[in-house]
């Protein structure tokens, strides 16, 4: 068994005391910056890059990778406790995680997030170890037309995601799509909707929008209730999920892990879809789908598992093709290049110690994270007992620091404030921000891939149906649309019938 000898080599490297220490430092740092709203792994890794020059490459990469998946763990903590998604992946965790916290179940929500992430991390690490090269070939099968059809499916799912009125959800998706149009057009280089503001030339930042729409809007809405803000902690019964909770989460975690691992392989925005996709899937298949959006534990378990699995498998295109799937992976490429390692197909054969050492360290890092995070849950919950008049200004300060650090530009803080106001208006109108965020993420990707696919096919739209992968995504989307439409049609017909009699 080659895989066993490879893994033995990897664990031999990763278990050396120094590498273990670097892994620990990485995951602790990652957890910390994940918990601080807005301060993301990109800024942190960039600051630490010079320190890694003097480390050996394996130790450096182990630490940087630790920061990355540590931040994924930490990010869900603020999403659950204060409705602040620091990373695109934790937006979905806000939906039910925060509601659970409001009902005094922050403990089980945090524990579910940690356990789900751990399980997903283990499985995904194994997948990376066993199938990295063939899966990289699968990733290459995804071209513009496949991505476009996948995004269509994602958007249709966005409508399913909402739990209020269908019309409002569609409007929010459209609003998101329109916001996504801001910036430089990829094909012609023309500036769109930038109004002469050069900060808008690269479009609006995702973190800025998410922090404004979720975190800031929530704070404004809370301040409305003068002095009578709900104290979650008064109702905290237990920190640990109950037996019934465990029964409810194991299947969602499995499904989330599978979906997340699959989508994480796609470098063109697959990982973004992982948590959204897992949530939508759960909402459709769960017995408790009515509870979604009001604090369903499945709604935390599935997306958390999915985003962690996706975070691990997104190392596949990086390590085997040298293609980064997000800003953190691009930084990892930088970190490798500075060490004189060119990320690409030869890493596995020329540097087996590095390749397998990193994979083994991911599993060890996940174990460290779960050991680190479970005892911390009690402490995080105590954080909620801090009086709100002290808590919210400090959250605001951290949010501003975080958003500023994205591109060291104060403009982003102002933009976040504007989105906070928009978010508050949406709260008042009972419009869900999640479909808007998904539209905002997917819109630009969809447009880019649609136009690229059309360029490559020289204007033939049939290309979306000629490629089997693309065609199957489109067919599933159509089926989903029919499912959404059917009950409404039936209801309307019943209404008409009632009027006639």
């Amino acid at each position: 068994m080659e895989i066993i000898s490879n893994l033995a080599l990897g664990f031999g490297v990763a278990l050396s005391p120094f590498n273990l220490l670097m892994c620990l430092i990485g995951v602790i740092l990652g957890t910390l910056i994940g918990v601080l709203p807005g301060v993301g792994p990109v800024a942190t890794i960039a600051m630490l890059l010079p320190i890694t020059f003097n480390l050996n490459p394996i130790a450096a990469l182990i630490m940087l990778a630790g920061i990355y998946y540590g931040a994924q763990y930490g990010g869900s903590t603020t999403a659950i406790l204060v409705n602040l998604p620091g990373e695109s992946s934790s937006v979905v965790t806000c939906l039910d995680g925060y509601q659970m916290a409001r009902r005094g179940r922050a403990g089980p929500a945090l524990a579910t997030a940690a356990l789900g992430s751990f399980f997903a991390g283990c499985v995904a690490t194994l997948i990376v170890a066993m199938f990295a090269p063939p899966l990289a070939e699968v990733a290459l099968k995804f071209g513009p037309s496949e991505y476009f059809s996948l995004m269509v499916l994602g958007l249709v799912a966005a409508v399913v995601l909402a739990h209020g009125s269908l019309i409002k959800a569609i409007c929010m998706v459209l609003l998101g799509l329109m916001l996504g149009l801001v910036g430089t057009d990829v094909n012609s280089g023309v500036l769109r909707f930038a109004f002469g503001i050069s900060e808008l030339a690269d479009g609006i930042g995702f973190v800025t929008v998410a922090m404004g729409m979720f975190g800031l809007a929530e704070i404004i809405a809370n301040l409305e209730h003068k002095g009578a803000r709900e104290v979650f902690t008064g109702k905290v019964k237990h920190l640990w999920p109950t037996r019934d909770d465990f029964k409810r989460i194991w299947a969602p975690i499995l499904r989330g892990t599978f979906l997340g691992s699959a989508l994480g392989i796609l470098p063109g925005g697959g990982a973004l879809l992982a948590s959204f996709g897992a949530y939508t899937l759960e909402k459709k298949v769960s017995k408790n789908s009515a509870e979604f959006g009001k604090g369903a534990i499945e709604g935390v378990a599935a997306p958390e598992a999915a985003n962690n699995a996706g975070a691990q498998t997104s190392f596949i295109p990086l390590l085997t093709l040298g293609i980064p799937s997000n800003a953190v992976m691009a930084l990892m490429i930088g970190a490798m290049m500075i060490q004189g390692i060119a990320p690409g197909p030869q890493v596995m054969t020329e540097r087996p110690q590095l390749f397998w050492g990193m994979i083994a360290s991911m599993w060890i890092g996940n174990l460290m994270l779960v050991v680190l995070n479970l005892p911390l849950i009690g402490m995080w919950i105590k954080l909620l007992t801090v009086p709100y008049r002290i808590l919210y200004p400090s959250i605001l300060v951290f949010m501003c620091i975080g958003v500023f650090s994205l591109s060291n530009n104060p403009f982003d803080c102002l933009l976040m404030a504007a989105f906070g106001l928009l978010g508050y208006v949406c709260v008042k109108l009972e419009c869900e921000p999640a479909p808007m965020i998904l539209g905002f993420i997917l819109g630009p990707l969809m447009e880019e891939n649609l136009r690229r696919a059309m360029l490559l096919s020289r204007g033939d739209p049939l290309v979306f149906f000629q490629k089997p992968i693309s065609a199957s995504f489109l067919i599933v989307s159509i089926i989903l649309l029919v499912i959404i439409a059917l009950p409404n049609i039936r209801k309307r017909r019943e209404e008409v019938f009632v009027e006639e009699t």
Binding site: P50, N187, A201
Partner: protein
């Protein structure tokens, strides 16, 4: 005695005044940390070379050199920030072919003048672009590619990292010089373009050497030629486009350190010398070379300014010819 003392005091006061008026004079500079603005997100080659140089400069000049990323608008936000900061030697930044040669030609308006608003300190890196193809195409040389493309007008696609990038302009220039017609497919950055090139959805690309090298060495992409007049030290067996029949074809991607116009000559001299010394340090040189980056023959601030000016003129012409201008 009294007069002596008074004169001495006056002299001392004058000296203090002079020092205050010229804080960057002689020993006084650098008296506080120096900010190095990188107009791109962290992790890219420009950022990495800045972060490689910063610790060296800190060691020789005795003050921290802090790298700060100010990305946005194709690098214009960061470049504009440097142009508009105080010329006291405490804010310098990376200027690149995009911010100082292509964008001014490509974009409707750029908030700075690439020559007048800057003091060009030292050209740090020049990277050749390399013409790479998908290996399934039955083409092994530039001459074969030209023949292949001529037989199939409009059938070949070439990818690039963005509209108006060096890769795009190199492709347009290639089309003009060879009389071929290929379709430009722009991407958001080079990595997704390379992915489609590896998968064979697009046929060729003028990628920068640093990013193409691993796949070329692994045999996943076929390199045909470099875009510079001189062969690259990283792939010495690879011919240049100029050797392959496209006489005079010469394009490099470059970036270097610049400060705002009006910096004192002493600081400019000192910074420029220390940057070049840091570049020449064997350890830095080796790391840059591993990434396919090479130092340059441009060695003085004056040569650098002349170089930027020549590049600006060249790309103004190329952009016009290519029809890449958006409006």
């Amino acid at each position: 005695m009294q007069a002596w003392l008074a004169a001495g005091r006056r002299l001392a006061a004058l000296a203090v005044l002079a020092a205050a008026a010229l804080p960057a004079f002689g020993q006084a500079w650098p008296a506080k940390p120096v900010r190095v603005v990188v107009p791109y997100p962290p992790g890219g080659p420009v950022d990495i070379s800045a972060r490689l140089l910063a610790p060296r400069l800190q060691a020789t000049l005795g003050q921290p050199f802090l790298v700060e990323n100010k990305p946005g608008a194709g690098g214009n936000i960061g470049a504009d920030f440097v142009a508009k900061s105080a010329p006291d030697g405490y804010t310098i930044g990376m200027g690149a072919i995009a911010t100082h040669a292509i964008n001014p030609a490509l974009m409707a308006s750029v908030p700075y003048d690439p020559i007048r608003d800057f003091r060009h300190l030292a050209l740090v890196v020049q990277v050749p672009n390399v013409l790479v193809m998908n290996t399934e195409l039955p083409v092994r040389s530039v001459a074969e590619l030209v023949a292949y493309a001529k037989a199939r007008p409009g059938k070949l696609d070439f990818a690039s990292g963005s509209t108006g990038s060096t890769g795009h302009l190199a492709g347009e220039l290639f089309k003009q010089m060879t009389g071929t017609f290929m379709v430009h497919i722009p991407y958001k950055g080079a990595p997704p373009a390379v992915a489609d090139l590896l998968a064979g959805r697009v046929h060729l690309m003028f990628d920068n050497l640093a990013s193409a090298l691993p796949n070329v060495r692994a045999g996943k992409l076929r390199a045909l030629a470099v875009t510079t007049l001189k062969r690259s030290a990283s792939l010495p067996e690879l011919p240049t486009l100029d050797e392959s029949g496209l006489k005079g074809f010469d394009m490099t991607t470059w970036w270097g350190l610049m400060g705002p116009a009006g910096m004192s000559a002493d600081v400019v001299q000192r910074l420029s010398a220390e940057i070049l010394a840091a570049m020449d340090a064997p350890e830095v040189r080796e790391r840059l070379r591993a990434m396919g980056m090479e130092g340059s023959a441009v060695r003085t601030p004056e040569q650098f300014t002349a170089f930027v000016d020549a590049e600006r003129r060249l790309y103004a012409k190329l952009v016009k010819q290519s029809g890449a201008k958006p409006d």
